[in-house]
């Protein structure tokens, strides 16, 4: 569904490449969590997959449209538009010369399925809602946009703990229902262990850990934490990384 071969990326003025020889392949419907310290190259990798950045070398194969939820909710939504308009916009892969309000009932049902009462704000501009509510709508937009590949960049990081749990549960349920191939960046190692079929850890532009299947299911947060700290300790770093798979 998604395949990256020998991806390398540098930015001008930065001596060391941000991504070094990344090889990654995700099957259809696979849910992969991506962890790593700040500056490890996670967001750059997602931006290369989404097409926002070009890789210096290597190639990418995507078998399907991409939907994305970014950290900055103002980038992922249009605050000046109503919830209905935002949602309708995300559903228009083939626009028509008919009123976008024809989608209203369907959109209200989608929002109702969240069970947090957001449907009463359907005709309100998104800027009237809280950051958490807007991020929830951004996630809903991405999931229902018809894209087959979903990229999530710390999409719950700005939320309070209760909203984080609600949105993560909704995301996982929807991803499974729609069979989306998902790559989710998170700094919450608990979520990374708990959700998804596969876990990837990046360090200094390389994939250093890649676990899936039974090993992922058996992975404990303590061992993930240990790995995380080990790679953070510069003295233990070695070229080529470590593959636990």
């Amino acid at each position: 569904m998604l395949s990256l071969n020998n991806i390398t990326k540098s930015f001008s003025g930065v001596f060391e490449p941000v991504l070094k020889d990344i090889n990654l392949s995700l099957c259809e419907g696979e849910f992969c969590t991506l962890v790593g310290a700040n500056g490890s190259g996670k967001s750059t990798l997602l931006k290369i997959i989404s097409g926002e950045y070009y890789a210096d070398s290597g190639n990418i194969r995507r078998n399907g449209d991409i939907s994305q939820v970014v950290q900055d909710v103002n980038k992922g939504t249009i605050p000046a538009m109503t919830m209905l308009e935002n949602m309708a916009l995300s559903r228009m892969k083939t626009p028509r010369f008919s009123f976008y309000k024809r989608h209203k009932n369907e959109i209200v049902e989608k929002i109702k399925s969240l069970n947090i009462g957001l449907e009463k704000f359907v005709d309100q501009p998104l800027e009237a809602l809280s950051g958490g509510q807007r991020q929830t709508i951004a996630t809903l937009m991405a999931i229902n946009s018809g894209g087959k590949i979903l990229l999530l960049d710390e999409h719950t990081s700005a939320l309070d703990p209760k909203m984080q749990v609600m949105l993560m549960k909704y995301t996982v349920k929807s991803v499974r229902e729609h069979g989306l191939t998902t790559l989710m960046i998170t700094h919450n190692l608990d979520d990374a262990v708990k959700y998804g079929d596969r876990l990837i850890m990046m360090h200094k532009g390389r994939i250093v850990v890649d676990v899936k299947g039974r090993k992922k299911a058996e992975l404990k947060i303590q061992s993930l934490l240990e790995m995380f700290h080990r790679f953070e300790d510069q003295s233990l770093l070695h070229e080529g990384g470590e593959d636990v798979n």
Binding site: D65, K75, A88, S98, Y100
Partner: protein, 285 residues
């Protein structure tokens, strides 16, 4: 202020509203500061005058003027999109070039059209009705368009171009369409004023942008721009109020030569009142 001045202000305000709509479309829906009005408005007038002199029907002359001025809008869009020239600079360059083009079209700096007929008569009420009908013919379909899938995508381009790109919306196509629409509005206003005055002068466009901008600012100060309906009402209301304010100022003895200073002061005042001390400005692309 006399009743004649008031009614004349209404008539001028309706034409100014067309210019204000032309400014509003790229400015509010595309986040594109388009300054082509000073060139496209006289281009519309010049084209209309020459078409009428050649015996063309006034309505056909208006349509030709709208297309010519619309093409000028497309040129502004392409200069910005192809050569990455700042949107304001692209508009200024095109407006400067348009002056020579207009002189070429007209063959001389001014043209009288007293024997050519036109849409308008000596009856000011009739003339206002004609302008209202033309304005409605242009703006009602546009208001409907904004509520369709394509209209929603058009609005998204200006509000969040990053998200629009992510949704597969072609910024390029919508920018070209928006500037064609805006240019056509300038051309329409230019051709109407020429038919109303039976006279075309190559200098009619000087400072027209600031009048349109003042109208838009005043309209938005009165009704706001929070909803689509308010955005669509603001240019019309603003232009009508602005013309009356000008009329009042003139009736109190303001010299016509001071009008541009007066207009600029109104724009600054409205912006200052709206910002309430916060930093504001036109976002440049």
């Amino acid at each position: 202020m006399s009743i004649d001045l008031f009614i004349n202000g209404l008539q001028q305000g309706l034409i100014l509203a067309i210019i204000a709509y032309g400014i509003m479309i790229p400015f509010r829906f595309l986040d594109f500061a388009d300054l082509t009005a000073d060139g496209a408005y006289p281009l519309g007038g010049a084209t209309c005058a020459v078409c009428m002199l050649s015996g063309m029907h006034p309505t056909a002359a208006i349509l030709v003027s709208m297309i010519c001025a619309g093409i000028m809008g497309i040129c502004t869009a392409l200069i910005h999109l192809k050569f990455r020239v700042n949107s304001m600079l692209a508009g200024i360059i095109l407006s400067t070039m348009a002056y020579s083009v207009n002189l070429r079209i007209m063959g001389k700096p001014n043209i009288a059209l007293f024997d050519c007929g036109g849409l308008f008569r000596e009856n000011i009420g009739y003339n206002m009705l004609i302008i209202v009908i033309i304005l409605a013919i242009c703006m009602i379909p546009f208001a409907v368009f904004l509520r369709t899938d394509f209209g929603l995508r058009f609005r998204a381009v200006g509000l969040n171009s990053d998200l629009a790109r992510l949704q597969g919306i072609s910024i390029r196509k919508y920018t070209i369409f928006g500037l064609f629409a805006a240019g056509s509005m300038f051309g329409l206003a230019g051709s109407l004023i020429v038919q109303l005055q039976n006279y075309m002068d190559v200098g009619i466009g000087v400072g027209i942008l600031i009048h349109g901008l003042a109208s838009l600012m005043i309209g938005e100060a009165i009704v706001g721009n929070a909803t689509l309906n308010r955005q669509l009402i603001a240019p019309l209301l603003g232009a009508l109020v602005y013309q009356q304010v000008q009329g009042i100022a003139l009736s109190f003895g303001l010299a016509p030569s001071d009008l541009k200073f007066f207009t600029g002061s109104i724009v600054l005042l409205v912006i200052a009142l709206k910002s309430g001390g916060k930093h504001v400005g036109i976002k440049q692309k």
